[in-house]
Amino acid sequence: MLKKNADIIVIGAGPGGMAAALKANELGIKKILLVDRLPEMGGILQQCIHNGFGLQMFKKDWTGPEYADHYIKKINNTNIEVLLNTMALEITKDGRVILSNSTDGLIEVTAKAKVFAMGCRERTRQQVSIPGTRPSGIFTAGVAQRFVNIEGYMPGKDVVVVGSGDIGMIMARRMTLEGAKVHAVTEVLPYPGGLTRNVVQCLQDYNIPLYLNHNVVEIYGKDRVEGVKISGEKTFDVQCDTLLFSVGLIPENELSRMVPLDINPITGGPYIDDTYETTQEGVFICGNAAFVNDLADYVSIEAEIAGEGAANYVSNPLRNKVGVEIVAGENVRLLVPNFITRNDQATLYLRVKEPMLDVKIVSTDGIVALKKQIVKPSEMVEIKLNSEQLAKVKKLKELKIDVGKI
């Protein structure tokens, strides 16, 4: 078996992995290995041909491929070693990483630090338990996106989108532009799953009906999808040949489980501190593998912190980290990271359980006290903590954050 040594191995070369590798390189780490199973870097960005990327990070309105290209060109100008078409198969008990590709066969990597950036997977029809037959014509929105935007295949002509996640709405527009008729987007909840700008520019712009409080309850058709039954306030049938599912994303953590790391049932990712280090020293995680983010920009921001954390660990593994636990309180569905260790600055991300107007976000001892006119589950709230606030946090046993009406 081919053996390799590295200071840091980064697994996954999407927006997270690329930003983490670049940051560690910038901080002077010499041997960085960046691995991806696809034939090119960029990850899912390459199929996200729509614009809206980079607004936060770069004040640019880039498409996914343009956002990827920015990082790819930077990486190509460094001596980061990039291994493409290479799958990370296993983390051994003693922490080595087993890779596989068709030129080298199996490769065993010993690295001082690891950064996991595997992204996430889409939930499928099976995971939302919709009864009916099992005909062809049923796709996740992301798979359809790859077919249309990269491979050049149209999945069908008459479409129903199940779930109003961002990719679902973006694919409703994309299929419409390519000549398909999108008959309905259904959402089981009373509010859209994705961003408002996508409701407006992907659905309203093209008169695509969004049925809130409605769900597809039956799929018709034997060989090919022939229609669906939609049920909610009213129940009706829609004829279609294609169903796209946009019903949520699951962080990809097969490797994390091998470390082994405990998975937080709320985020679907491992427990992390504010340097994106997991409970296993020297193992960092960022982006959608840690928790599902709204924007690629957030992924890049977190990945830089993870890359910095990994670089610091390589330079000085004997740290004495003390963590204060962060606890999700009233009306909070998700709050990350789970532990505060830093003294300089930290950013927390919070998701509420349901949309609320005129809220206050407050913590133990009033260290955090924010007011918001509106909060929605589809849009993470950023909570920035400065050194003064962190000094107060460090005196606590835990920091609990609640969201309540003003």
Partner: protein
Amino acid sequence: MSERSSERKFTCIMCPLGCEVTVKNDAGGTITEVLGNKCKKGETYARDEFTRPMRVLTSTVSIDGAQFSRLPVRTSSAVPKDRIFKCMGEIEKIKIKAPVKAGDIILKDILGLNVDLIATRDL
């Protein structure tokens, strides 16, 4: 005068608040009132949406001799919303050969709109 006056509603996307903004107009199509916005940005947004909504269009074109069969493209700036399907008609006709660099002009001055169609990746 008022028999043809009407109103249209827009969801503002300038911030997460998503105000429902109503634009009222007279028979001649001139805006008479903008209601429901909580800030100035909302009024500007709704006025623009009412008078000349613009969108950046992204799509793909057929490419030969590359690793993949579609090349992603975008308009160099926003185009009028009501010309989007016409633009798609032009985009559909294009067939190009690799190699292409990100930023290359794939179609100049699409539909005479003073906007170019550009590649968004190397391929």
